[in-house]
Symmetry: C2
């Protein structure tokens, strides 16, 4: 099957520019605050082929194609080209200034992953492609998500329309008079009330009867100041068109609702890329993305979105600043690459991006101090979390993430049979781990401390302990100490963002604390639902009141009310309550170890690369039905049973 | 005065893409065979200002602007913005996917070189700008050269038009019938005769009466296969619009003709950038560019064209391949930067591009062997010249160029007060020079040998000796040996391209060999005129016959008949016959030391930054009239006299 091909990662880099260009803010386009790369402008595609008989190919290009056979030009347009029989080299150069250079050939020879490409005529690498673009008319440059009609469910008052829940799309209406219309988008009614004080609004000059279409905006409520034809207002909703492959139901209606709203939040934020916030911030962020990447196998299992996101975030060489300018985010990016591989078992993405993993980590290493620790420089944003904490000096959490990223680089090198790299990165990781434990572990507190500043190891936050626990850095004894002293007890401040609560809950679930976690989920996530949330928020503090819930970044409506990092319950329910997780890459081996946390009934399904694993827990018993080709182990009430490979025709069914 | 501003070098990089995109070949767009960079897509401009009273500014952008004062957003369109009085920071971000992000502000504050800019929100550098774009409507993205109407001088036969001399522009005609027209461009009649065997042709589908405009092509002759309205054919000639500031006349009509044709060749090739060949190869080449850069002070003295060319050639970071993929061309690029500085005395370009000079030379150093010598790798094209020679192993000419580039890096660092760099690069240069002389100087032959291959120093070509001589690497005794043993005598093969003859003649002129050089110029350049050349060719071998003159690169009409590297006589006449050259940067000190080479009369003018130096040689006497503000020395027949600073109102006149 022929597909459009391009220089690897260039489609994603170009699309990222288009998507990030759509971020609006106070009536303006908000330019990224990091380097935004453009795709290559001049690319050559090469294929050595063997044909038994002469054959004709058709050539389609985004940009201007130039065709050579065995280094000799094929003159004149090159829409169709006769290929001679035998073994020859076909080379097609494509140059384009304003769109991604891309190529599609069908006929006697077809463009596919076997073509190599170069953007400098020297270094040739396997081309990039996507199965989305498998016909001449399916041009990568025309890629947009599908849309569908969405009518308002009603009006909250005159000039205010309510779409019933968070939505995202093009806004349509017909003007009733000549003049100006100002269109305000609100995730809440007060945001619409705030007028120009809101985050999202557009001015349009209109003529009577004119049909207006405003570019994609996030909204639940719409206010239009201006005269609009009755009944003409609707949203052309843009949606991802992917099948949501996971499900969850339990005897607890509140948890079910939380799952559904989380799933809808994930749906809203799974667009061309994983976006963090729909309304305000339509950019890619590697920290937010890691959580989406981890949730993806428990929702869409769509690795294309993951890989698009990661390719776009990394951009082009050279690596001159941390991803999103945030130190931690570079590490999350590396971890995301591995998460995708582990879920899918497909190493092709690691293979294509490995050199960029190495260059970014070499850059990072060049910034480390004599202990091998990384410290944020003036230009680095040390983020960690939206919470009060000292971020000076050597932060333990940053070292833990650096270690994990280095460990993944080591594993990736092993996977790709790069022995020298594997030895080097493995050595650095091991040394770093020892140093972290030596410096930051407090015997007195029985946990990892927060920072070393001016030689003094001090402070206590939950971040380093929980990540060290999650990433397997600790001994079983240390794990228990950390749970007792940092997560369930101790004097570390509570976490207030769904962002970091995600990891905290993951760490606790890993240690079997389902009851504590589910109770917390119901209180915290449920608190948002009680306030009418139709999607999960960027931040939630149950102590806040009224308009306080909408404010952030010093702006009265700065807070995003649809933020992907809040969708964590879909991950928790699939991975821990239903208990399904891969033990080897691509679910070659997997485990089903439900933790009901007090639920009597729970059932649902978790997708895998090649099938689904359905789990039904009813009172004392659990039944697994699997169409996954890997081999599973069901663990329940201390008992263990093997789950054989299943197929769609013949699911494997196991009961305990 | 307000000007449009951008991220430094991005305008040039973007324009280079547009210009190189216009290269046509066999009916197709020819993609570059090196990395072609795109400008930044998201750029921020910052200015800290102080205003005594509040003031209004108007903001114009290429792309979408986003305005902040003291880090707080100024909502809503930002076409005009009120600036508060006092000291504040204005920041305007501009994002653009399909054009260069650029900004123009006028009113209470104006965009100029005092703005800093960043493409990653971290590293802020002085912005780029050009005085060409000094009004809101003079947008950098609209930049095109001016055009003028050019009628054919006649027809050579039916369907063939002759424009009298080499030209360049849009081709216009009216179709007389429905159907296809094929438009062939020829620098010669035989090229038109060759039809699709020619380099340049375009197919167009036309309707009767339709006016056709074909994009810029180089041609003297035009053939149109198809029905064309009588009298409708013309060229909309594109020209550079710059004043040609130099002149030369002598008692030798043949030399005068050579000067004029050379000047016209320079005119044709001085476009947005210095292009090498007009017809075939409308790309930028650093080797060809160096000669244009050296000729520029003896013709247009337009440093903008030089700097545009050099900025575009260097492109963006990272430096991952030699400029044009040619080892020697990286060195010529560095040398060009210094030539521009030395002619203009203006260090601003070196200052803006210094970091890119360093990064490319660091890349080069990382490829050097233990002797500090550079050897072409598999991906490097070791060009030197179109001539048979061994290019294996360590070539002396490449080491000489490397030394010169390193020496310039050392001087540039000194100029910019970068002491550490200066010491480092100076040390490398000195060590390299010693090593070159130690390894390649042959006492037996009395010159520099060609290469070291498998430990054996061998071969003899003119390249290393003449560059070593030109660049002051030799002692006076060695210079004389080299002239005798490599240039005027000895067994080194003759040079057959105007490209390398340029340097050969420069080297000989430096040593006072005007008579030999002028006689050679008249024979060699005159040989092309005798064959009807209206511009100087890419290559000329007097031994060739008929169609042989048009062939190159294995293609019957591959040779360019308008090639800038052939314009050398304008440099020779100005710099050596009239004898005008700067001794210090920007003509602060200069010399007039005419070498008539047997001419009885010669007169002309050489431009400087701030005036002109006119020289009139008549029999025994020479008169200099200078409006240049620098101090000159006139040297004539062993006598010396000072030329005081002149002004436009009061030229300094000196006679000997």
């Amino acid at each position: 099957m022929a597909v459009w091909i391009w220089y690897p990662q260039d489609f994603e880099i170009d699309l990222c520019g288009k998507v990030e260009f759509r971020r609006r803010d106070h009536g303006m386009t908000y330019p990224t605050v990091w380097r935004l790369d453009a795709p290559s402008r001049s690319v050559h595609f090469v294929k050595k082929y063997t044909l038994d008989a002469p054959g004709t190919i058709r050539i389609f290009a985004q940009g201007e194609p130039y065709c050579c056979i065995d280094n000799l030009v094929v003159p004149d347009r090159c829409e169709t080209v006769e290929l001679p029989k035998g073994t020859h080299e076909l080379r097609v150069g494509v140059m384009s200034l304003h769109s991604l250079p891309a190529l599609y050939i069908d006929g006697a020879l077809e463009t596919d992953e076997s073509f190599v490409t170069s953007d400098d005529f020297v270094h040739f690498v396997p081309c990039g492609y996507s199965k989305l673009f498998d016909a001449p008319e399916k041009r990568p440059e025309d890629y947009r998500l599908p849309t569908r009609h969405l009518d308002p469910v009603g009006k909250t008052k005159e000039g205010y329309w309510d779409f019933g829940k968070e939505s995202f799309g093009f806004i349509h209406f017909d003007a009733a008079k000549d003049g100006e219309c100002i269109v305000f988008c609100g995730e809440s009614v007060p945001e619409c009330d705030a007028g120009m004080g809101a985050e999202l609004w557009d001015r349009v000059q209109v003529k009577k009867g004119q049909h207006v279409r405003i570019d994609t905006r996030a909204l639940r409520y719409l206010r239009i100041d201006g005269d609009v034809e009755d009944g003409s207002v609707y949203v052309e909703e843009e949606y991802n068109g992917l099948p949501f492959r996971a499900s969850f139901k339990s005897n607890d209606a509140r948890l079910n609702k939380i799952y559904d709203v989380s799933a809808y939040t994930m749906e809203m934020c799974t667009r061309e890329f994983f976006l963090d916030g729909l309304k305000r911030d339509r950019w890619l962020w590697a920290g937010d993305a890691l959580e989406s990447v981890m949730m993806n196998p428990y929702s869409y299992f769509d690795s294309e979105t993951t890989r698009r996101t990661l390719a776009a975030l990394r951009g082009r060489e050279p690596f001159t600043q941390h991803i999103n300018r945030i130190l931690d985010y570079s590490f999350y990016w590396v971890i995301s690459v591995w998460e995708d591989f582990f879920a899918t078992g497909d190493a092709s993405f690691i293979r294509s991006i490995y050199s960029k993993m190495v260059s970014m980590m070499e850059y990072t290493l060049s910034c480390c101090n004599e202990d091998g620790f990384i410290v944020g420089r003036k230009q680095d944003w040390v983020f960690v979390d939206w919470a009060d904490m000292s971020k000076e000096g050597e932060l333990c959490i940053e070292q833990v993430l650096l270690w994990k990223a280095m460990d993944i680089l080591h594993r990736s090198a092993e996977l790709l049979d790069k022995e020298e790299d594997a030895a080097r990165f493995g050595g650095i990781a091991d040394k770093l781990k020892d140093k972290i434990m030596e410096v930051f572990w407090s015997e007195e507190k029985g946990t990892l401390l927060h920072q070393r500043l001016n030689g003094k190891v001090q402070g206590h936050t939950r971040y380093a302990p929980m990540f060290a626990l999650m990433y397997g850095m600790l001994t079983p004894e240390q794990e228990q100490l950390v749970i007792a002293n940092s997560l369930l007890g101790g004097d570390a401040p509570k976490i207030t963002t769904p962002y970091m609560r995600f990891y905290e809950m993951d760490a606790l679930m890993r240690c079997g604390k389902a009851e504590e976690v589910l109770s917390d989920v119901k209180a915290y996530w449920g608190g948002m639902l009680d306030l009418g949330a139709t999607t999960i928020w960027e931040q939630f503090d149950p102590e806040e009141k009224g308009l306080e819930h909408y404010a952030m970044y010093g702006r009265p409506f700065g807070r995003s009310l649809c933020h992907c990092w809040g969708a964590g319950p879909i991950y928790l329910c699939g991975r821990y309550v239903l208990g399904v997780k891969p033990l080897e890459p691509g679910y070659a081996k997997y485990e089903v170890a439900p933790q009901t946390g007090g639920l009597h009934q729970a059932s649902g399904s978790v997708p895998t690369t090649d099938g689904d694993i359905s789990v039904e827990i009813d009172g004392e018993h659990v039944t697994v039905s699997s169409t996954c080709g890997g081999e599973g182990t069901l663990i329940w009430n201390g008992e263990t049973v093997q789950i054989p490979a299943g197929t769609k025709e013949k699911p494997a069914v196991v009961k305990l």
